[in-house]
């Protein structure tokens, strides 16, 4: 069987090898180039070595943030106590808080999309406006948001909501419209009213797909959050990355970027697991 045939059936070994190949190649290439650069210039800051990155990450994760008061017994504190006072934890907490507030604010977006799909007058009222809003580049609104809401949390959260909410509204709307008409009619013939048909039949059926849609938009949520934090913030992962960029602190920036990717991966996996547990019928359907 040739490598480029549609009916090719890769063996387990081939699947494992091929799927990890690019990771290994990327890591090996990085460290090869990095070691070459460090041989030529031991003070190179563009491509830090593994030891440098490990050292920087340990400092970020275990040493108190610069604005934290250093306790007299700091060195004798437990690992958990050290972590809870660290720069990494402080930044993660700040970004996480904004991230989850933004996700919570997407719930009304889902409900709006549901009602637009179910109630023709509500759909007519909002659809054109949401379609228009969806075309606005959210980042272009950033200056307006900072002027209107100040540079505090609200502006950053609003940026995420404005950037992602129209997509979620439209997704929920289309998913609602995609529920077979037969299901709705059957609901009525079984004695359900408008409320029960909307929430007990349609919402329940679209919910796993809506969660998937939110999951697929997690990166967009993070993108808008990072833009907000990089421009105007006193804490947060993106703030830290922007700050370190000025000092060419690649030894901390790279672990921070990987840390963000890991967090996003964990949130994604968590949502997938929750979706599977909450909607067993959907996974198997």
């Amino acid at each position: 069987m040739s490598f480029f045939e549609i009916h090719a059936q890769p063996s387990r070994t081939a699947v494992w090898t091929l799927s990890w190949f690019l990771f290994v190649a990327g890591i090996v290439s990085y460290f090869w180039v990095s070691s070459n650069r460090h041989r030529e210039n031991p003070d190179d800051r563009v491509m830090p070595t593994l030891a440098q990155m490990g050292q920087a990450f340990a400092t970020a994760a275990l040493k108190p943030a610069e604005d934290e008061e250093v306790a007299p017994d700091a060195d004798r504190q437990s690992l958990a106590a050290k972590l809870s006072h660290s720069m990494l934890w402080k930044d993660t907490k700040a970004t996480g808080r904004r991230f989850f507030i933004s996700l919570a604010l997407l719930v009304p977006a889902v409900l709006l999309g549901l009602h637009m799909g179910m109630l023709p007058y509500v759909g007519t009222f909002f659809l054109r406006f949401v379609l228009f809003f969806d075309k606005i580049v959210a980042l272009s609104l950033l200056p307006i948001l900072f002027i209107a809401f100040g540079i505090d949390e609200l502006a950053k959260v609003m940026l995420i909501v404005i950037g992602v909410a129209p997509t979620i509204i439209l997704d929920s709307f289309h998913l609602t419209r995609g529920v077979p008409r037969e299901q709705i009619v059957r609901g009525f013939t079984l004695g359900a009213g408008d409320f029960s048909v909307t929430y007990r039949i349609v919402l329940k059926q679209i919910l796993p797909r809506v969660l998937n849609s939110i999951r697929l938009n997690l990166k967009a949520v993070m993108l808008f959050l990072f833009a907000g934090e990089m421009i105007a913030s006193q804490d947060g992962l993106a703030y830290r990355i922007a700050l370190l960029r000025r000092h060419m602190g690649m030894d901390t920036i790279i672990p921070y970027v990987l840390w963000v990717a890991l967090l996003l991966f964990l949130v994604d996996a968590g949502m997938r697991l929750a979706n599977r547990k909450l909607h067993p019928w959907f996974q198997e359907a």
């Binding site: 037969e182 299901q183 059957r186 079984l190 359900a192 009213g193 929430y199 059926q205 019928w281």
Partner: protein
């Protein structure tokens, strides 16, 4: 005074019009689109369907059978004329009419038992009342009743905890019928409900629906494109067709009572009559239900 008199008369007329018929379809016309794209679906259809009748509506694909069913459901409003169920016109489907479509008949997010008890729960427990102990007891009763319906449909107790996608097409339709019948609807509307089933399962379902009709006395409107199925199931066969041209809306071209006891020869003759009305160009035409017929 005069206006009151007129109004009262109008109400009396409306109530009286459908009093003797469970379903009255009065001079109903339906057309879709506008201008050049306008397409007539039904033209001046008149029908009275009485309580306890088992009526098959048969016709070629696209002749308006399902439209007629949707009119009775009140899922669609007629362009002209009126449709009365128990003497009143409705604006949206309600529990008087049970409905079994060809597909998407079950809620995919609920198990079989949850599907069957859905109607009882929404009508008797409501959205927020599910936690009170009395309601919990009521819910247990619903489940017991649902299991008895499941048994009557020839399904096992273990099927109750399955999701619809874990059932075969025939089993899904059995559950759909149980889901509709547990609400004791006055009318059961079935839209090509057995069309997607294999011939063996289909024959079993036909026997089942006929037995359930005898047992419950529910008025049944059964839409099919298969003349044989229409005749062997129903007490009355209504054929829709376009007698003049394909641009005209469909009309009732045959309204045929089917005797309860009838021999094979007479059944064959009736099927022949229905086929002739439904497929005037011959059974070999494109729309003819080849293997099933």
């Amino acid at each position: 005074m005069g206006s009151t008199r007129i109004s009262t008369t109008a109400v009396e007329e409306l109530a009286g019009a459908g009093a003797d018929a469970m379903i009255r379809i009065e001079d109903v016309s339906v057309q879709y689109g506008a201008g050049d794209a306008r397409k007539k679906i039904l033209s001046s259809v008149n029908l009275d369907i009485h309580q306890g009748e088992f009526v098959s509506i048969v016709g070629q694909t696209g002749c308006g059978k399902s439209t007629l069913l949707r009119l009775v459901l009140a899922e669609e409003m007629p362009g002209g004329g009126r449709v009365l169920v128990e003497g009143s016109a409705r604006t949206q489907p309600d529990r008087r009419c049970g409905y079994v479509p060809q597909k998407y008949s079950l809620f995919p997010d609920r198990t079989v038992i949850e599907n069957i008890t859905f109607g009882l729960e929404v009508t008797e427990i409501g959205f927020l009342g599910g936690l009170a102990p009395a309601r919990r007891a009521r819910r247990k009763e619903f489940r017991a009743e649902a299991y008895s319906y499941l048994k009557r449909m020839g399904l096992g107790e273990s099927d109750g905890s399955k999701y619809p996608h874990q059932l075969s097409g025939g089993m899904q339709q059995r559950v759909a019928i149980a889901q509709a019948l547990i609400m004791r609807p006055k009318i059961l509307l079935m839209d090509e409900a057995f069309s997607a089933l294999d011939p063996g399962t289909r024959a079993g379902m036909q026997r089942l629906i006929r037995a359930l009709w005898r047992e419950t006395g529910t008025t049944i409107l059964f839409v099919t494109h298969n003349p044989r199925e229409a005749v062997i199931l129903a007490t009355r066969v209504i054929a829709l067709g376009r007698p003049r041209s394909s641009d005209d809306g469909a009309e009732v071209v045959l309204d045929l009572p089917v005797p309860d006891t009838i021999d094979e020869q007479k059944i064959a003759a009736l099927i022949g009559r229905v086929e002739q009305s439904t497929y005037p160009n011959g059974i070999e035409s494109e729309d003819a239900p080849s293997a099933q017929a």
